[in-house]
């Protein structure tokens, strides 16, 4: 029987780490992700797990140490947040191009400046082109479940890419929720051990990793990384299927909520999906309007055809971004979903909203207003402003 608990998002991920017992964890403390390495350090000190914890002097070093450990053959992870991820930037690309199956537990928070440490997606969205798989969570349960699946995806021989397991800072990371934990034995069997094909500590096969690739090789290397991302789509789904067998919980690239007959849809990432679901229930119960939600779980690789398929029958779509990219015309999720719809020739009216930057709250009332705008757009076929804000004083 699964174990019922009450845990914060940080505790949930730390508990998943404990159950997997990975080989190496280099980490540098930064709030609020501090708690993940802190809990893991306690597990190690108490003798619960034998993970090698490396105290480093910065995130630049924690990702560098993770690269070294993973190349050596160890199952490796680290955890960080916000500016901590920014300081890893250079190494994120190296980890991906060296094809190292590192897992990073990321607590999504704003990047300075102005100085702010609250929830938004600017850190991971900034790293969206680094070559990492990115999986997002709405709740503590999902953060825990996603983490349990992470190494199996990363280490698959057709993938061999690093994976970022993201959850919303404070809202999820510090919010305590009911959670269902998978039994230790089942996790152990599911997660298994890393069995590297090539690794630096293999004395029978001398190997060099991360060589200089001049113009004659760089593009071919990048094409290889893209192939790994394409392969990851299949692997993410098969790992989810396997996970369902031990947990009873079903995962895909995204969750479709009340989409069977939806005419008006919101596309969103992360914890605000819970608020949107509450608004959907209110609207359906009071007005009968057919409103629904697509909550993105996997942003990298981007499931463009599948998203377009899920949205092909709706009249109007609002894509909600929790980070700025300063194209001055939209956010990253807005740009990519719109492109997917265009390629699939979906004819719905589309609007992009930005919300929740730097921890700005979003409420069910806000979602009511977004759906009302969608009804208007569907009726008039007129999009007043393609890039709008929720909760901005203007």
């Amino acid at each position: 029987m699964s174990i019922r608990e009450r845990l914060s998002g940080n505790e949930a991920v730390a508990y998943a780490i404990k159950q997997i017992n990975p080989d190496v964890m280099p980490a540098f403390p930064i709030t609020p992700s501090t708690e993940i390495p802190q809990y893991v350090a306690s597990y190690i000190a108490n003798g619960d797990i034998d993970t090698e914890f490396i105290h480093v002097e910065s995130e630049h070093s924690s990702m560098s140490a993770a690269i070294g450990a993973s190349a050596a053959g160890a199952r490796t992870l680290t955890a960080t947040s916000s500016c901590g991820l920014a300081l890893m930037w250079e190494e994120l690309y190296v980890a991906a191009s060296d094809r190292l199956p590192i897992v990073l537990a990321l607590v999504n928070r704003a990047l300075s400046g102005p100085i702010n440490i609250n929830a938004d997606h600017s850190d991971s969205m900034g790293a969206r082109d680094s070559g990492w798989i990115q999986i997002y969570a709405e709740s503590n349960q999902e953060a825990y479940d996603n983490f349990l699946q992470s190494f199996k995806i990363a280490e698959n021989k057709d993938v061999m890419l690093p994976v970022m397991i993201c959850q919303d800072g404070f809202i999820t990371s510090h919010g305590v929720e009911n959670i269902e934990l998978v039994e230790d034995e089942l996790v152990k069997e599911f997660a298994g051990e890393r069995k590297p094909l090539h690794y630096l500590l293999n004395e029978k096969e001398p190997m060099a990793i991360g060589p200089y690739a001049v113009s004659n090789y760089y593009m071919e290397s990048k094409r290889g990384q893209r192939q790994a991302m394409l392969n990851a789509k299949k692997v993410i789904l098969s790992v989810a299927e396997e996970f369902e067998k031990i947990s009873g919980r079903k995962y895909g690239f995204f969750e479709e909520y009340r989409m069977e007959d939806a005419e008006y849809a919101i596309v969103i990432i992360g914890s605000a999906a819970g608020t949107a679901k509450a608004a959907i229930e209110e609207i359906r119960n009071t007005t009968g309007k057919k409103v629904g939600l697509v909550k993105i779980r996997v942003f990298r690789p981007f499931p463009d055809e599948e998203i377009a398929e899920a949205l092909k029958n709706v009249k109007a779509i609002a894509i909600l971004d929790r980070s700025e990219m300063f194209s001055a015309t939209g956010g990253p999720l807005g740009a990519e979903v719109t492109a997917a719809l265009y390629r699939a020739k979906v004819q719905a009216e589309v609007v992009n909203y930005i919300y929740g930057l730097g921890g700005r709250d979003i409420t069910t009332d806000d979602f009511h207003k977004v759906y009302e705008e969608l009804y208007r757009m569907a009726e008039t076929h007129e999009v007043r402003d393609n890039y709008r804000y929720i909760g901005l004083r203007e």
Binding site: S97, D98, R99, L100, M160, H198, E205, P206, M207, A208, I209, G210, P211, A213, N216, Y217, M219, E220, S221, R223, G224, Q227
Partner: protein, 96 residues
């Protein structure tokens, strides 16, 4: 030789995952001498075979032959001119 398997004509599918290399000293096959703008010219008359130039070459491009004479590896010499600078007998000059 690795260049038989992976070279400038290889399609992306032939590159190893993450460009991992499973051979030692593959840099020998990677010719960096083409970046050179100046080349060292050896004057055998002036040379006293002291070999002071050999250890200072940053690219290990000065080789000593069986006859105990120096020889330049022009596939890897980048023309930095350190050898010409250290030679006490002006036996190496840099030419364009």
């Amino acid at each position: 030789m690795i260049s038989d398997k992976i070279n400038e004509n290889s399609p992306w599918q032939d590159l190893t995952e993450g460009n991992k290399l499973f051979e030692a000293a593959t840099s020998r096959e990677f010719k960096t001498g083409e970046w050179r703008t100046q080349r060292p010219v050896h004057d055998a008359e002036k040379c006293r075979d002291c070999f002071l130039c050999v250890p200072v070459c940053p690219d290990m491009s000065i080789l000593v032959t069986k006859e105990e004479k120096i020889e330049f590896d022009m596939d890897h010499c980048k023309g930095c001119g350190i050898c010409a600078k250290v030679c006490p007998f002006n036996a190496i000059s840099m030419e364009v």
